[in-house]
C-alpha cells in the first residue's frame, strides 16, 4: 500500500476503485457484471433510533411478558394465507445462482423457525420443496422451470415485476453456472450466458397484471396468496398499482437488495434506498385504506433485529432477507481466506457470485465447491441467526412497551440525520421537525 508515504494524496473523484474500473473497462470492452448489492454509502435504518420507554411510556418485561412476532400474509383474497411465526422471510434466490445445498440450507433454516423461503429464476427443486415447510414460488419474466404442478405445490405465488438490485432489468446467469442440471431445468443450452427478459412475455402494466393474477388464482383454486414484488423505483405508485391489480401481499425491495449477477452500473445507480421506499409504500397502502389488509414485505439490506424492528415500526408487516441469509449459512467466511485470495478477493469483500467459483460453495454449481456447504449445519446457522433477529426485534418492541412487534410506530423513533428524517418521515432527534412536512 502506497499510503505509507504521507505525501501521496488519493483523488476523491478518481479514487483507486474508479481508476481500476476505467482500466478494466479499457482492457475488456464490456461492462462489469457482479453479484451482491449496492456497496456505496447510503442512508439506512442505522440513521434512526428508538426512543424507548421511561416515565411517559412503560416497557414490558423481557422474556416474561409476551411479545408476539407471528404474522399472517395473504388475508385479502387467498383461501389459505401463509402463517409465519416470525416476521422475517427468506427472499427469492434461484437454484442455479445458488447450489442445491445452499437452497436446502435456506429451506431447513427457515422451516426450523417457522418462516417461509422463496424459489427464484430457475424453478422449484425437489430438495427445496422437501426442506421448506412454507415455500413461495416466484413467477418471473423468464418462466424458467415454470409449470402448473409446482405452482400448485407452492404455498404462495410471488409475481416478480422487479428487484431492488435492478428495477427495470432482467435476470442474468453466466455460462460458468449453466451446468447440465441448471440448463435442463431452464430449457437452455449448457454453458451459455443467460440474459432473461425484463418484461413478462404475456402482460405489461397493472391493467393486464390484474388478468394474469386472475389466471393464477383460477389455476390454483383461489387458495394461494399472490404476492407482487417490485424493486424500489417509484414505490408509492408501484404499491398502489399492485394493490389495484389484486395483490394479496406487496413486496418492496430497496436498492441494497442483492443479486447473483447484474451490471455494476445497475446495482449502484438504479432504485432508491430501502429506508426511503418503506414510507412511500406504507403511504400508498394508507391512502387506499389497505394498510394491514394487503400486507407489506420490505427487503433490501436488512441485517439485524434493529433493522427488522425499524422496518415494522415504519409500517411493514414483515421483512425479507437474502444477502444476510447467505452470510449466515457461510458466505464470506474467513475460514476460506486463502481461497478468496487466490481468486483476487478477500473474505468480507467477495461479490463475484456470477463467476461460479465461490470458495464457500454457495453461489456455485461446481460439485466440489458445493460440497463445502453442509446443508444441515448451514440450516442450523440460519435458524440461529433468524432467532437472534427475532429476539432483538422483540427486545426493542418490549422496550417501547409493545406486546406485538407490529405495534411499533414511526412515533417511537427519532432520526439522526436530516436525510433520514426526510426519507422516513420521522422527526430529527431532539426536535419535532420532519423536513418537508411541517415547515
Amino acid at each position: 500500500m502506497s499510503n505509507d508515504n504521507w505525501g501521496l494524496r488519493e483523488s476523491y473523484t478518481f479514487d483507486r476503485n474508479t481508476i481500476h474500473e476505467i482500466q478494466r473497462a479499457a482492457n475488456t470492452g464490456i461492462y462489469r457484471i457482479r453479484g451482491w448489492g449496492a456497496k456505496r454509502p447510503l442512508p439506512t435504518f442505522d440513521d434512526l433510533v428508538f426512543l424507548g420507554a421511561s416515565a411517559s411510556r412503560y416497557p414490558l418485561e423481557g422474556y416474561r411478558e409476551s411479545c408476539n412476532t407471528a404474522v399472517t400474509l395473504g388475508t385479502r383474497y387467498a383461501k389459505k394465507p401463509i402463517e409465519l411465526k416470525i416476521p422475517i422471510t427468506i427472499a427469492g434466490m434461484s437454484f442455479g445462482s445458488l447450489s442445491a445445498n445452499a437452497k436446502e440450507a435456506l429451506g431447513r433454516g427457515a422451516s426450523e423457525v417457522g418462516t417461509s423461503t422463496t424459489t427464484g429464476d430457475g424453478g422449484m427443486t425437489p430438495e427445496e420443496r422437501g426442506h421448506s415447510t412454507q415455500l413461495v414460488y416466484q413467477y418471473l419474466p423468464s418462466r424458467y422451470g415454470m409449470n402448473p404442478d409446482d405452482l400448485r405445490k407452492a404455498d404462495a405465488i410471488e409475481v416478480v415485476v422487479g428487484q431492488g438490485a435492478k428495477p427495470g432489468g432482467g435476470g442474468m446467469l453466466l455460462g460458468q453456472k449453466i451446468t447440465e442440471r441448471v440448463a435442463e431445468m431452464r430449457n437452455l443450452p449448457e454453458g451459455i450466458d443467460q440474459r432473461s427478459a425484463c418484461r413478462h412475455p404475456d402482460w405489461t402494466g397493472p391493467d393486464d397484471l390484474e388478468i394474469k393474477i386472475q389466471e393464477l388464482r383460477e389455476i390454483t383454486a383461489w387458495e394461494k396468496p399472490i404476492y407482487v414484488k417490485v424493486g424500489a423505483a417509484r414505490p408509492f405508485y408501484d404499491t398502489t398499482l399492485a394493490v389495484k391489480a389484486g395483490a394479496d401481499v406487496v413486496v418492496v425491495d430497496g436498492m441494497q437488495g442483492g443479486t447473483a449477477a447484474t451490471q455494476d452500473v445497475f446495482i449502484e445507480h438504479v432504485g432508491i434506498p430501502t429506508l426511503a421506499a418503506v414510507r412511500e409504500a406504507v403511504r400508498a397502502l394508507q391512502e387506499l385504506d389497505m394498510h394491514r389488509k394487503v400486507q407489506l414485505v420490505i427487503a433490501g439490506g436488512i441485517r439485524s433485529g434493529a433493522d427488522v424492528a425499524k422496518a415494522l415500526a415504519m409500517g411493514a408487516d414483515a421483512v425479507s432477507i437474502g444477502t444476510a441469509a447467505l452470510i449466515a449459512i457461510g458466505d464470506n467466511d474467513p475460514e476460506y481466506e486463502e481461497d478468496y485470495r487466490k481468486i483476487g478477493s478477500a473474505a468480507g469483500y467477495y461479490e463475484d457470485f456470477q463467476a461460479g467459483n465461490d470458495p464457500a460453495g454457495i453461489t456455485t454449481q461446481d460439485p466440489e465447491l458445493a460440497k463445502r456447504l453442509d446443508p444441515v449445519k448451514g440450516g442450523q446457522r440460519l435458524a440461529n441467526y433468524l432467532r437472534v433477529l427475532t429476539l432483538e426485534a422483540q427486545t426493542l418492541a418490549r422496550a417501547n412497551g409493545k406486546s406485538d412487534v407490529r405495534n411499533l410506530e414511526p412515533e417511537d423513533m427519532a432520526a439522526l440525520t436530516v436525510e433520514a428524517a426526510a426519507m422516513a418521515g420521522v422527526p430529527l432527534a431532539g426536535t419535532g421537525w420532519i423536513p418537508g412536512q411541517n415547515g
Binding site: 405489461t204 397493472p206 391493467d207 393486464d208 417509484r234 405508485y237 398502489t240 398499482l241 389495484k244
Partner: protein
C-alpha cells in the same frame, strides 16, 4: 394504464344506438380502469360551435358565463348543463370563443370544442360516469371512451381521458409514456398550455401543436412515432372518424373488429363482444407503428 373503446358506425340506422352500444363496451372496461372514465361522442353537428366545459369548483355560474361570452362575441349562446359539465352552443367562431372562456373563466376547464364533439368525464366508478352523463341515450356517428387506472398522475376529472387535442379532436391512451416531462416543457415554449401532470395530455398537446403547425393528423401521428417514447395504444377521435396507433413495441393490447355496419376498437375483445353480430366480424390486432383510420367522407 387503462381500457379503451372506440366505435365508428358505417350503418346510419345504428346512429340512434351509438351511445347505448358505446356504454355497453365501456362498462366491460371497468376492471382495467376503476379510477375514472370519460367519453367523446360525435353527432348532431352544430351550425357554429359546441364547447364542452367542466367546472373546477362545482359552483360555476354557467348562465352568467354564457352572457359574458355572448356579449364578447355578439352571438347567442345556448346552455345545457349536466352534472358539473356544461355544453355551450353558439354560432360564434370556435377558437375565439374557447380562448375567451379560458381567459375569462379561471374556474372552468374547456374539455372540447368543435362542430360535432361533446366530451364528458368524471372520477370514480366508470358505471356511475356512464349514468351521470347519460352516455346510453346519446346519438351520433362515432364515439371513443376510456376507463383509467391512474399510474403516476393524480386521479382528477381534468386528468381523466379523453384529452382534447384541438377542434373536434381528442385522444385516449393505454400505456405509459417515458419522455413526457421534457416534451411538456418544450410544448409550453411553443404555446401549448397544460392543466395536469398527465402523460396523455402531453401526447394530446403534441398532436394539437403539430396540427397547428400545418401537419395533417396522419403526419402528426407519424412524427409522434419519432418523438413520443414509451408504451402506448392511442385512439384518436376526429370530426368525421377515428384512428388507432400503437407504439413500435406494441405491448399494450388492442383489438379491432369490422363488419358492414361498424368498426370497433378496444383493449380487449370482451368490449367488442357487446356489439350486434360481433361474433362474425373480421377481427384482428393492429400492427405496431401503423396508423389505422376510418372516416365518413
Amino acid at each position: 394504464m387503462c381500457g379503451i373503446v372506440g366505435l365508428f358506425l358505417k350503418n346510419k340506422e345504428l346512429e340512434p344506438d351509438l351511445g347505448r352500444l358505446t356504454a355497453l363496451m365501456l362498462r366491460e372496461m371497468r376492471d382495467r380502469g376503476p379510477d375514472s372514465a370519460g367519453f367523446a361522442v360525435y353527432g348532431d353537428e352544430a351550425e357554429g360551435t359546441k364547447i364542452t366545459l367542466l367546472s373546477k369548483t362545482n359552483e360555476t355560474d354557467w348562465d352568467g358565463l354564457a352572457k359574458g361570452l355572448s356579449k364578447a362575441t355578439g352571438e347567442a349562446v345556448d346552455v345545457k348543463t349536466v352534472g358539473n359539465h356544461a355544453l355551450f352552443t353558439t354560432p360564434a367562431e370556435g377558437l375565439g370563443a374557447r380562448r375567451w372562456i379560458i381567459d375569462n373563466a379561471p374556474d372552468v376547464t374547456v374539455l372540447a370544442a368543435g362542430k360535432s364533439i361533446e366530451l364528458y368525464k368524471g372520477i370514480g366508478d366508470p358505471d356511475a360516469v356512464i349514468e351521470d352523463y347519460a352516455l346510453a341515450k346519446r346519438t351520433g356517428t362515432h364515439a371513443i371512451g376510456h376507463t383509467r387506472m391512474a399510474t403516476e398522475s393524480a386521479i382528477t376529472t381534468a386528468g381523466s381521458h379523453p384529452f382534447s387535442t384541438g377542434e373536434d379532436t381528442c385522444l385516449v391512451h393505454n400505456g405509459s409514456l417515458s419522455n413526457h416531462n421534457r416534451l411538456r416543457e418544450n410544448l409550453r415554449r411553443h404555446g401549448e398550455s397544460f392543466q395536469t401532470e398527465n402523460d396523455t395530455e402531453v401526447a394530446a398537446g403534441y398532436l394539437s401543436w403539430r396540427v397547428r403547425e400545418g401537419d395533417t393528423l396522419n403526419e402528426a401521428l407519424e412524427r409522434g412515432l419519432e418523438d413520443l417514447d414509451g408504451f402506448y395504444t392511442f385512439a384518436i377521435g376526429v370530426r368525421n372518424g377515428f384512428a388507432v396507433l400503437r407504439d413500435p413495441i406494441a405491448c399494450k393490447p388492442a383489438v379491432i373488429a369490422e363488419n358492414d355496419d361498424w368498426v370497433a376498437m378496444s383493449s380487449e375483445f370482451r368490449a367488442i363482444a357487446q356489439l350486434p353480430d360481433a361474433r362474425n366480424a373480421n377481427i384482428w390486432e393492429p400492427e405496431p407503428s401503423t396508423i389505422y383510420a376510418w372516416s365518413h367522407n
